[in-house]
């Protein structure tokens, strides 16, 4: 009997806490959103399972030298390997053609970082320290790997909440953005048709990868791992002679890395770390960040129209948040609601990919000043 009792004491059952149960429920909610609603399933499925694993009493996946801890500690917290590798894959999937054809859309990518800085102040106001506020603000960039990259360096204890907030809101871009877009634009503005873009040669795309790497890495050296890998992936795609490398970067490599990154991020959300008022604040601030980033892009597009001969549809401004290609698709859907024959998707891809560079720059500059 004593043996049985002793064995029972060594199982996880007597150690279950209310916190664990609550985290299991949160994990199931994320799993539901991923499977049923298909909100970013590639990320939310492993993240939700990571949450479940981290909250199994006695299993201690994140205890020092245990299975997930090793991945988390070496590949994220200590060496920051995984976010740049994901960026390589994203680069291999990105076409900078629309951005090169209409370079003024780069400014919209910059304006859509407005939410990052508004949220930065909001977080400080709610009592977070400056490095913590920076890591929360970057959620407004709508870029998961950059959020993880910056948070792991500035406020690693917020990694789980920040990453989950970033990915959750990225999945909710089609819900968050349209009301703001309609509120800040008139019907006439939404119906502006843009000229067809010029074609961009392969030489220009290769040149862009090299020049963008040099400019961004020199301006914000701390963002170099992200931008360097992003542009390397893009060079694989555009140079046309390393199809195998390009395919590997945008398929196998990014998939494998996503599994471990997402599970580890989920596993950082143990009950004792996550169940704090500050997690709720982070989710609230994430929403603020996304909203103000959308506002920033829209307002700059409207402002640019005061000076431009060929007007731009302000809806492409909201695509400056770098949720690629979701934000650009949302611009297209909202534009088509007023004019069925208006196609602004490719125009919206310009600020969309510029937003990725803008967010990486913002993260690099935060690191430069706060590391």
């Amino acid at each position: 009997m004593d043996l049985l009792l002793d064995m029972f004491q060594k199982t996880g059952f007597p150690q279950i806490t209310w916190g664990n149960v609550l985290m299991w429920i949160i994990s199931m909610v994320f799993l539901f959103l991923a499977v049923r609603k298909e909100y970013e399933p590639l990320l939310l499925v492993p993240i939700s399972f990571g949450i479940l694993l981290a909250n199994i009493p006695m299993a201690e996946f994140m205890k020092e030298n245990n299975f997930l801890w090793v991945f988390y500690h070496f590949a994220i917290a200590r060496w920051d390997l995984l976010p740049p590798i994901i960026f390589m894959g994203v680069g291999a999937m990105t076409d900078f053609g629309p951005c090169i054809a209409n370079p003024k859309t780069l400014l919209l990518g910059a304006a859509a970082q407005f939410g990052v800085y508004v949220t930065f102040f909001g977080a400080i106001f709610l009592g977070f320290s400056i490095p913590e506020a920076a890591s929360i603000g970057i959620i407004g960039g709508a870029d998961g790997p950059t959020t993880i990259f910056l948070t792991s360096k500035l406020a690693s204890h917020l990694l789980g909440a920040n990453a989950v907030a970033a990915y959750s809101y990225m999945a909710m871009v089609p819900i968050i953005q349209p009301p703001i877009m309609r509120l800040l634009t008139t019907k006439a503005e939404r119906m502006i048709r843009m000229k067809q873009m010029r074609s961009v040669s392969r030489l220009e795309k290769i040149g862009f990868a090299v020049v963008a790497t040099l400019v961004v890495c020199m301006l914000a050296p701390d963002a170099a791992p992200l931008m360097g890998m992003f542009m390397l992936g893009n060079l694989f795609r555009e140079c046309g002679v390393v199809t195998r490398l390009s395919n590997a970067a945008q398929n196998e490599l990014i998939n494998i890395v996503t599994i471990f990154l997402a599970v580890c991020v989920g596993a950082t959300m143990s009950a004792d770390v996550f169940l704090k008022p500050q997690s709720l604040f982070i989710f609230f601030l994430g929403l603020v960040a996304f909203s103000f980033s959308t506002v920033g892009g829209l307002l700059l597009a409207k402002f640019m129209n005061l000076f431009l001969k060929d007007k731009i549809n302000p809806l492409i401004g909201s695509a400056g948040v770098s949720a690629v290609p979701m934000a650009a698709r949302v611009s297209q859907v909202v534009a088509r609601a007023d004019d069925k024959h208006n196609f602004i998707l490719m125009h919206a891809m310009g600020p969309n990919v510029a937003g990725v560079i803008g967010t990486a720059l913002a993260a690099g500059l935060f690191l430069n000043m706060l590391k």
Binding site: P103, I130, L203, A220, I357, L361, F366
Partner: protein, 63 residues
């Protein structure tokens, strides 16, 4: 205690830096696009240019 001064400095430098970086990139794209168009034009005219040089060489060789 909240260091508002530092926070404003970080935000101002950060946002200016993002705009500076992307404006710089914009300028480079416009600049290189022109150069690349010239390079591509020369590439397209290459047979004609080569033909000219062959003509010059032939003329020099044969007086």
């Amino acid at each position: 205690m909240i260091e508002w001064g530092k926070a404003f400095q970080v935000a101002f430098v950060g946002l200016s830096g993002v705009f500076a970086g992307l404006i710089l990139l914009d300028i480079f794209i416009v600049f290189f696009a022109r150069i690349f168009r010239v390079v591509e034009w020369v590439g397209a005219k290459r047979p004609f240019i080569e033909h000219l040089f062959i003509g010059f060489r032939y003329a020099r060789k044969n007086g």
